[in-house]
C-alpha cells in the first residue's frame, strides 16, 4: 500500500496547480505499478520526452505547459526533434520543424534548462555520486547510474517530466542501495590489453553485454585498461540499445565496484558457489562476433560518416581535430557530427572546431539523425563509430551501416569509400 506524505497529498489535490495534480496522479498510478510503499525526493531530472514524434507527444507537452507546469528541481532537456538553426539544410519538412519547435518551447516554458543533449552528464548539469535523480534517455540513465554513481530508475518518456514537476519518485529500484548489487557476472577471458585499448572495444563490449544481461545488473570483470569517459559513454549507449542495461558495474573502473565483492555488495560471487549469481564468459571470439553484428553494410560504398551518438563531447572534438587537420573529406561523402550547442561552443573556443569544419564536416545541434527526419533519401550507406547509431539506423532510417573506429571513419571520408583497419581485431 502506498503511503503518501502530506506534501504529496497537497500536490495530488491541486494545491500546486492542475499540472502538478496531473503529474502526481500519473506518478501515484506508477507507484502502484512499481509496488512502491512511498515516494521519495529527487534533486534533479533529465527529460527525454522532448523528442517530437507526432501529435500525441506534442499534445502531452502542451497540455502540461498550458496547465502551468513548472519543474520543481533543476531539470535538463534531452535532444529535440529539430535543429532550429540548421534544419533547412536538410530534408526536414517545415511542418515537422514547426511542431518539433513547439514541443521544445513547451518544455522550456516549464522552466527546464535548454541543454538539448543526450549527454547531459557532460554539461554543468552533471549529477554527483549518490545523488537521487530522475533521468530519461537510456544511455544517460546507464551512464549516470554506473559511471557517476548517481541514482535513477530507468525512467521512460512522459514519466520523467511528472517526476520533475513533483520532485518525487517511487522509492524503488535503483534508487535504493540494496537493489544496486550486481546480478550477473561477465568475465573477460584472455582478452588482451592491446584489444581493450582499441578505440572500438568498449562500444563493442557494451553491445554484447546488453544482449547477455537480460534484466540483470551485469558485473564486468577483467578490464585491465583505464577507459576514458567517452569510452564508458559509448559502452553505456551500446548496452542500453541492444539491451535494457540501466546499471552496470565494471570491476576496478566504476565507483560502486572497486572490487568484485563490492560489485555484488558482498553477496557470494564465486562462480558455482552456493547462491552465486549467473556467470558467463566473454572471449575474443564473442567480441569479434558482436563487432560484426554492428556492420550491416557489405560493400564499400559510402554516403555519409556520422559521429555523435551520444552527442560528441569536447574530448571527442579534440581527438578528431588532429586526424582531419589539413585534409579534405571526399566531395561525394557527407561528414556529419551531432552535438550540443554547448560542446560546439567549447570546441570553437579551444580551437579544435576550425580544422574539423575545414575538413568539410557539418555539425547538427540539439538533435540527431535518429530523432529528426533530416537525411535525404539518397543517403543509403553510413559509417559510424557509435554502436547506438549502428544499432538503430538500419531499422529507423532504412540505411546500411559500417561500424569502425574514429580513424577508420576519417580515412573512409577522405577515400570516399569504406576503409577499415581490422588488424587489432584479427590478431587479438
Amino acid at each position: 500500500v502506498l503511503n503518501l506524505s502530506d506534501r504529496d497529498r497537497e500536490m495530488a489535490s491541486g494545491a500546486g496547480g492542475p499540472a502538478q495534480a496531473l503529474a502526481m496522479s500519473i506518478l501515484v498510478r506508477m507507484a502502484d505499478v512499481y509496488g512502491a510503499t512511498e515516494l521519495m525526493d529527487i534533486s534533479q531530472a533529465h527529460i527525454d520526452s522532448t523528442i517530437y514524434l507526432g501529435d500525441a507527444t506534442l499534445a502531452f507537452a502542451e497540455r502540461l505547459a498550458s496547465l502551468g507546469a513548472k519543474v520543481a528541481v533543476p531539470t535538463s532537456l534531452n535532444v529535440s526533434g529539430v535543429d532550429e538553426c540548421g534544419w533547412k539544410d536538410w530534408a526536414v519538412k517545415a511542418d515537422w520543424a514547426a511542431k518539433a519547435a513547439r514541443q521544445m518551447l513547451a518544455y522550456e516554458r516549464m522552466g527546464a534548462v535548454p541543454t538539448w543533449t543526450c549527454a547531459p552528464y557532460q554539461t554543468h548539469m552533471r549529477p554527483v555520486f549518490g545523488q537521487q535523480i530522475a533521468w530519461g534517455e537510456s544511455n544517460a540513465i546507464c551512464f549516470a547510474n554506473s559511471v557517476i554513481g548517481a541514482r535513477t530508475e530507468r525512467y521512460p518518456d512522459l514519466l520523467d517530466i511528472c517526476c520533475a514537476i513533483t520532485g518525487r519518485v517511487p522509492a524503488v529500484g535503483l534508487h535504493l542501495t540494496g537493489n544496486r548489487a550486481g546480478q550477473l557476472l561477465l568475465r573477460l577471458i584472455d582478452v588482451p590489453s592491446a584489444l581493450q585499448q582499441d578505440d572500438q572495444f568498449f562500444a563493442v563490449l557494451g553491445h554484447l553485454v546488453g544482449q547477455l544481461a537480460d534484466e540483470d545488473i551485469p558485473v564486468i570483470d577483467g578490464i585491465v585498461v583505464s577507459p576514458a569517459e567517452d569510452q564508458l559513454k559509448a559502452f553505456s549507449a551500446a548496452a542500453a540499445s541492444s539491451g535494457r542495461v540501466a546499471l552496470f558495474h565494471m570491476v576496478g573502473v566504476t565507483p560502486e565496484a572497486p572490487t568484485l565483492d563490492a560489485a555484488f555488495q558482498g553477496k557470494p560471487s564465486s562462480p558455482g558457489g552456493f547462491g552465486s549469481p549467473r556467470c558467463l564468459d566473454i572471449t575474443v571470439e564473442d567480441l569479434r562476433a558482436a563487432r560484426r553484428e554492428l556492420t550491416t553494410a557489405d560493400g564499400r560504398e559510402l554516403d555519409m560518416v556520422i559521429l555523435g551518438s551520444p552527442h560528441f563531447s569536447l574530448a571527442e572534438f579534440s581527438l578528431l581535430a588532429p586526424l582531419v587537420a589539413g585534409q579534405r573529406a571526399h566531395p561525394r561523402v557527407k561528414f556529419l557530427i551531432t552535438s550540443s550547442r554547448l560542446m560546439k561552443e567549447r570546441a570553437h573556443e579551444t580551437g579544435v572546431l576550425e580544422p574539423i569544419l575545414s575538413f568539410g564536416a557539418q555539425i547538427t545541434l540539439d538533435t540527431c539523425i535518429l530523432a529528426s527526419p533530416m537525411l535525404p533519401p539518397e543517403i543509403k550507406t553510413l559509417m559510424t563509430n557509435s554502436a547506438k547509431y549502428a544499432y538503430y539506423a538500419p531499422s529507423l532510417l532504412n540505411t546500411r551501416v559500417t561500424f569502425g573506429s574514429l580513424a577508420d571513419c576519417v580515412h573512409s571520408a577522405i577515400e570516399g569509400r569504406v576503409v577499415r583497419d581490422d588488424a587489432p581485431w584479427r590478431s587479438a
Partner: protein, 146 residues
C-alpha cells in the same frame, strides 16, 4: 485459462503474437503502420497492431512509451501487452493513453511457465481481472455443420 497479474487493467481480445525477445518500441515499432521494424528482432516486418503482443519486457529507448502513446492515438497499438514482469514502460504508456485519450490497453504480467505456453496465432481474450482465456476451438465448433 491463465491467471495473470494486472499491471494496467482493461479488456481485449485478439490473435496472440508471441516473442521471447525484448523489444524497444522506439526504433522497433512503426506507429504509422503498427509493424515491428527492429531489424535485429525476430518479428521484424510483422504487424503487432490490434494483436495481443506477448513480449517478456521492454528494452532500449526511453521513448518506447512515447511511440506507444502515438500508436494508441493512431489506432495502431497492440490490443494488449503480456509480459513476464511488471514492465514500467508498457504500464506508463497505457496510463498516459488513459489520461490523454481514455484508451488504456491492458498490460498483464504472467508467470514464466504461462508466458512460455503462449502460441502465436491462438485467439486470446483478456479480462479486467487479468484472466486470460484461450479460445481453443470447442468440440461443437469442430463438428460438421448441418
Amino acid at each position: 485459462m491463465i491467471a495473470g497479474r494486472v499491471i494496467v487493467a482493461g479488456e481485449a481480445a485478439g490473435e496472440a503474437l508471441v516473442t521471447r525477445d525484448a523489444l524497444s518500441f522506439w526504433g522497433g515499432y512503426d506507429f504509422h503502420t503498427g509493424e515491428i521494424i527492429d531489424k535485429h528482432h525476430p518479428l521484424a516486418g510483422v504487424r503487432a497492431g490490434g494483436r495481443i503482443l506477448a513480449v517478456p519486457f521492454s528494452k532500449g529507448s526511453s521513448t518506447t512509451t512515447a511511440v506507444l502513446l502515438e500508436a494508441v492515438r493512431a489506432g495502431t497499438a497492440p490490443a494488449a501487452i503480456l509480459t513476464t514482469g511488471a514492465d514500467a514502460f508498457f504500464a506508463l504508456a497505457s496510463i498516459v493513453a488513459d489520461v490523454m485519450y481514455g484508451k488504456p490497453f491492458p498490460v498483464i504480467a504472467l508467470e514464466p511457465n504461462d508466458f512460455a505456453s503462449l502460441i502465436t496465432g491462438e485467439r486470446l481474450s483478456v479480462a479486467r481481472d487479468g484472466t486470460i482465456t484461450r479460445a481453443r476451438p470447442s468440440l461443437e465448433s469442430l463438428a460438421p455443420s448441418r
